[in-house]
Structure formats: structure tokens, C-alpha cells
């Protein structure tokens, strides 16, 4: 592999800042969504995923959670959740989707429910601080192994944040295609877009990747001499025995 083909992995931290006036009703929320910078939309409809990487189930986006929990308007909350889920490819798309839902409400409904002062929706903006991890991967194998061990923000940055800000373009997947790993690229796209918490999406991808390597390992092993295969078999059995004895509480 050419050294120039290496892809550098980056992590991200978000600096959160207040933005605009608080919203107490749906029409005020709508105005904030319409006029807020993309960093505000990003924080409330995308970045929340990074706040719950290890959850069993991804909580709703901030906007739907507020409408359901504070305004107690479950129908509108469901529709907004759906808009975020299906229109989240980019800032322009998600903004249009959210406004479609809110503009479709009759005017009396937009102003019918008031949140108490302490329950107002407070718009926040996320400024990204992108940090080099110092890890450069050269092929799909190195990428899959690196993604398994790095911070969840690495996954989030390359597979969620970058495509969102770049209107669907994903530099990591583009690079994977250039090194011939089309299937892994496809799997990564699917895993990142499955609406799962990051750790579960990452685990699903790794399961696929490791399973897909079995056939290659077997093919490689059949080409090895008999004594090498026997030695490899001994290692596998020894590892298995160690795992069993370690997990035995009586040992």
C-alpha cells in the first residue's frame, strides 16, 4: 500500500454555547429552528448521539424530547422525531423537515401550550474542536481495528458529523473506496445510519468485520505448512482454556 493512501483518524470535542432566545411555545421553537445557525441544528438533532454512546437505546433528539416531555404534545414530538430520523442527511434537509412539521400545525396549536419559565427550550450551539488522534490507517483491516479501540467521538466525527456538514459526502468512506474496501464502506454507512447508539453500531460493525475475516483466515491457513497449522491450533485451544478457567468463579 502506498504511504500516501493512509487515512488519519480524528476525534472531536464540542464546545457548547447558548444561542438566541428561549422558546416556550411551538411557534417560538419554530422561529429558532428557522433562524438558528447550522451549529444549533447540529447540536439538537445530531450531536445528542455523542452524549449517549453507551446507552441501550438512543434517546430522542433534543427538540422532540422537549415537545414530548415539557409541552406534552406527543403527536408533534413523534412527527419531529420522524423528520429528524429521515431527513438528517444534512443541515438544509433537517431544517426543511422540521419546519414542514411545525408549519403544518394550525396557528392555535402552535401557541396553545406554554412551557413554564424553568422548562423553556434553550437553544445551544456546538462549535467543533477537531483533534488528530495520531492514528493513520492504511487499509480496511487497520480501520476496523482502530475504530474498535478509539473514542466514540472518532466514529461520530467521521461517520456522522462530516457527512452532515458536507451534505452527504463522507471522506472516510471515499477513502475506503479508493483502497478497494467497498463492502466495508457500505457496512459502515449502514451501521452509522441505523439510528443505534454509537457503541451498539460499532459492535455490530465489528461483528460483521471479524466474521468476514474468518473465511480469509481459513484460506490463508490452508496454504500454511502442517506444523504451522498445528501450532496455530494449539494457540487457539490454549486461549480458549484460559478464557474458560478465568471465567470459572470457583477457580
Amino acid at each position: 500500500m502506498e504511504p500516501s493512501a493512509a487515512f488519519e483518524l480524528k476525534a472531536v470535542v464540542h464546545l457548547i454555547r447558548p444561542w438566541g432566545a428561549p422558546a416556550r411555545r411551538l411557534d417560538e421553537l419554530r422561529d429558532g429552528i428557522a433562524s438558528g445557525p447550522v451549529e444549533v441544528l447540529f447540536n439538537h438533532t445530531v450531536q445528542y448521539q455523542l452524549r449517549h454512546p453507551g446507552a441501550d437505546e438512543l434517546p430522542p433528539d433534543d427538540l422532540s424530547a422537549w415537545i414530548a416531555g415539557v409541552l406534552q404534545d406527543r403527536e408533534t414530538a413523534e412527527r419531529l422525531s420522524y423528520a429528524v430520523q429521515t431527513r438528517s442527511a444534512s443541515a438544509s434537509s433537517v431544517r426543511a423537515g422540521l419546519l414542514e412539521v411545525l408549519d403544518a400545525l394550525p396557528p392555535h396549536r402552535q401557541a396553545s401550550r406554554d412551557a413554564p419559565d424553568e422548562g423553556a427550550f434553550l437553544f445551544l450551539s456546538a462549535t467543533s474542536v477537531v483533534v488528530s488522534t495520531g492514528i493513520a490507517v492504511r487499509d480496511g483491516h487497520e480501520l476496523a481495528e482502530a475504530l474498535a479501540g478509539t473514542d466514540s467521538s472518532v466514529w461520530f466525527y467521521h461517520l456522522v458529523q462530516e457527512p452532515w456538514f458536507l451534505e452527504g459526502r463522507t471522506p472516510l468512506l471515499d477513502w475506503l473506496a479508493t483502497v478497494g474496501e467497498h463492502r466495508l464502506a457500505e457496512r459502515l454507512r449502514d451501521a452509522a445510519g441505523a439510528g443505534l447508539p454509537i457503541e451498539r453500531a460499532r459492535a455490530r460493525l465489528l461483528r460483521y468485520w471479524r466474521r468476514s475475516r474468518i473465511a480469509r483466515h481459513v484460506a490463508d491457513a490452508t496454504a500454511s505448512p502442517e506444523d504451522v497449522r498445528r501450532e496455530a491450533g494449539r494457540h487457539v485451544i490454549a486461549r480458549f482454556v484460559r478464557r474458560v478457567t478465568r471465567s470459572d468463579p470457583s477457580s
Binding site: V131, T150, S152
Partner: protein
């Protein structure tokens, strides 16, 4: 002596945190620290002992040095008059009564000017904590430096006159950091949010075997065969201890349980003593309520108490951030708490705990959780992961380093 020497013995903190949050997040923190190589940080506050800020700084300064970012900690000297003035400021910023006279303001500024001459503040990045040393930047800032003010106080109901006095001085800062969005006043400099955090390695939060917890709790004579419902908080009306008793009495009609109200501050706080007396009167002769007035260093006991509890309450009427919630969640406890201040950031309703808005709601959720141990385990498990991801010291260190990297243009 203004420079604080931080303890560095024992296992490196970075190793301890790595074992808890995992290698990936620690490596991300190390990457951020690497991006700041060549920069020095100075922390400044007004005390080396006592209080949450000093507690955090002892850990943070050590961690940053372990990560390769040279960090010092300077304590601003003061005298009785200065501390009297800053106490008034503190109370007024919290929304309490307090007036700063012209002489008070002049003396405060003069003490900051004198401290600016003596403190070692030549670092590239200076992080000033709370209002006492906030005026230092005006006297001491040098070209090329970045100054950040970290406010640990809830300013949402601050006395406007005192707030205006503090905020005017912030024009000399590059940024200000607050614990919660509602605490951010109109500022002459960009304001950022960084929730506070707990230390999973501290005496209050470290792992504790059941036997050790039993030994610590034994002298208290709490029942072993009855689930405990506990609120750990100062004896303060804003923590609504009487509301807690009312909610418990309602829940107790449905399920067997024992209430523990554990707190401190009664000895040196006249109002605390009054509130404690009110609580004792309301609890009367009930055998199913224990009121524990704890000394300020009862960290191990609080740890044991939280771990033994089936349900932990934080039924506050107003809150700053309420880190007691994160402490309980970290111990996998089922939490019932009011939706005020920073609590909703920690308790995601029905996922990491239960948010309530009334005494009846609180009683309902206590009963529900007492009847449903699997639900308690589920909430506790999710709560622990939520705290691991968002409310431990390494995350706070990460937020500061990211802000510094942003300010000095060192991000990738």
C-alpha cells in the same frame, strides 16, 4: 505561599481513569493534551482546601501534568475584610441579600491588583475560578496570553448590581465557562458550558465492598431488612426536606421502606439548625425515618449510604447542578429528582431516573421503584453509563483542553 503543591503519590490518576472510562476516551484526552504541547496553564482560585472547587483542582492539576501539559495552581491571598466582601458577593450572586459599597469595590479591586503583582501568572493559558480573583485579568493580562473565567456559581437569580460589577471585569477575558445554560448572564466575552463532574476515584465515589459499607453503616442502626429511601443534602429549605418527608409518608402507605435524610452544615449555619429542627419536628416519633447530621468529612459514610439505598431522592425546589445526583447514578442507584437546575441533564426521565414536579409525583415514583427491582437495576445501569460518558473528571478536563485548543488555534 501562593503556589499549591498537588499530591502526586500513588497510582497515576490517568491510569485510574483509564480503567474506568476506557482506553479510547483517555487517548482522545491525550491527543488534546498533545495539541497543547509547548503551552503552560495556570489555575487560580482563592483557597487550596475545603469546597468543591479546591477538590476538583487537586485532581485536575495533577491529571493535566500527567498528560504532559505543565499546569500550576495559584491561590489568591486575602485578609478578613477581603473575604467578608467576597462572601457578600458570593451570596448576592446566588440571589441572596448583599450590597457592595464603593469602599468594598475599591478594596476588592485593590486586593486583586496586589495579588496580580505577586502571583505567578505568566502561563500561556490562565483559568481563573469564581469571582474572588476575577479582576486579576485587568491588572495582569499580557499580550499573547489567553484568560478564561470559570464560574461555579448559579447566576440565574443574581443581584443585578453585583453581577454587573463582576461582569464588567470579564471584558479582559477571552471566554467564560458556566455549569449550566441558565447560569449564563449577558457577557462581554463568549460564554461556554461545561457541566461540573465527580471524581470516581474519590472516597465518596470509589468502589466499596458490601462488607465495608455494612461496617460503616452499622453504628447508625439502620434496618437491614427494609429498603432505604435516601436524600443526601444540606439541611436547606431549597432541598425541600419537608416535601421529602411528605412524599415518603404517602409512599409508605403503599410499600414498606425507611427514609434517611442525611446532611451537614447544621453546626455552623444558623438557618441549617432551624431547618434541622423543623425536619425533626415533622418526622416526630416515626421509627421509619432517620435524620443524620453528618460531619463535612463523612465521605465514606455517604458512599456506603448511597450504595445501600434502594431509591435516592433529590427533591430540590431550586438547584445549581446537584452533583449528588451523579454520585447516586454512578453507584447504579435508582434516582427520583425534581426537574430543576442541572438535574434534567443527569436524569433523563424513564431512562436514567425519574423526574418529578410534585410531592404526589415523587411518592408515586418512589412506590413504583420500590415495587420494581428490575426497573431500579435498569435505570441504575443506564444512569451509571450516562455519568461515565458525561459527568466524570476526565470529561471536564477534556472540555477545558478543547476550549484552550480552540482559543490558541491548535485544533486539527
Amino acid at each position: 505561599m501562593t503556589l499549591v503543591n498537588v499530591r502526586t503519590d500513588g497510582v497515576p490518576l490517568a491510569d485510574g481513569y483509564r480503567a474506568i472510562i476506557g482506553d479510547g476516551p483517555m487517548r482522545a484526552l491525550e491527543s488534546l493534551a498533545r495539541s497543547l504541547r509547548g503551552h503552560r496553564i495556570a489555575m487560580v482560585n482563592s483557597t487550596a482546601t475545603g469546597g468543591g472547587v479546591a477538590e476538583i483542582l487537586h485532581r485536575l492539576v495533577r491529571l493535566l501534568n500527567e498528560l504532559g501539559v505543565p499546569t500550576t495552581w495559584e491561590v489568591m491571598p486575602g485578609d478578613a475584610r477581603f473575604y467578608g466582601i467576597t462572601k457578600t458577593m458570593h451570596n448576592a450572586l446566588h440571589g441572596g441579600p448583599g450590597v457592595l459599597t464603593r469602599e468594598d469595590r475599591d478594596y476588592y479591586l485593590e486586593m486583586n491588583r496586589r495579588a496580580a503583582e505577586t502571583l505567578a501568572l505568566d502561563a500561556d493559558l490562565v483559568l481563573v475560578h469564581d469571582p474572588q480573583p476575577a479582576a486579576l485579568a485587568g491588572w495582569r493580562r499580557r499580550p499573547g496570553q489567553r484568560w478564561v473565567w470559570r464560574c461555579h456559581i448559579d447566576l440565574s437569580r443574581a443581584n443585578p448590581d453585583v453581577l454587573d460589577f463582576v461582569v464588567t471585569g470579564l471584558a479582559h477575558y477571552d471566554a467564560a465557562v458556566f455549569s449550566h445554560v441558565t447560569f449564563v448572564p449577558p457577557l462581554p466575552t463568549p460564554g461556554y458550558l461545561a457541566p461540573p463532574s465527580i471524581d470516581p476515584l474519590s472516597e465518596k465515589n470509589r468502589e466499596m465492598e458490601e462488607q465495608e459499607a455494612d461496617a460503616l453503616l452499622e453504628p447508625l442502626g439502620l434496618p437491614r431488612d427494609t429498603p432505604l429511601v435516601t436524600q443526601v443534602s444540606r439541611f436547606d429549605r431549597l432541598k425541600d426536606p419537608l416535601g421529602v418527608i411528605e412524599a415518603f409518608v404517602l409512599a409508605r402507605r403503599q410499600e414498606k421502606a425507611h427514609l434517611v435524610l442525611a446532611g451537614g452544615g447544621a453546626e455552623d449555619d444558623p438557618e441549617g439548625e432551624t431547618v434541622l429542627a423543623e425536619i425533626r419536628e415533622r418526622a416526630g416519633t416515626r421509627k421509619d425515618i432517620s435524620i443524620l447530621a453528618l460531619p463535612p468529612d463523612a465521605h465514606g459514610l455517604i458512599n456506603a449510604l448511597q450504595r445501600r439505598s434502594a431509591v435516592v431522592l433529590q427533591k430540590s425546589l431550586r438547584e445549581g447542578f446537584a452533583l449528588t445526583v451523579s454520585e447516586a447514578l454512578w453507584k447504579r442507584r435508582a434516582v427520583v429528582a425534581s426537574a430543576v437546575g442541572g438535574i434534567p441533564l443527569q436524569v433523563i426521565h424513564e431512562r436514567t431516573g425519574m423526574l418529578v414536579r410534585s410531592i404526589e409525583g415523587c411518592a408515586f415514583q418512589i412506590t413504583r421503584l420500590l415495587r420494581d427491582p428490575p426497573l431500579r437495576r435498569k435505570l441504575g445501569g443506564e444512569g451509571r453509563e450516562h455519568v461515565r460518558d458525561n459527568f466524570l473528571h476526565p470529561r471536564e478536563a477534556r472540555d477545558y483542553l478543547a476550549l484552550f485548543a480552540h482559543l490558541v488555534g491548535r485544533a486539527a
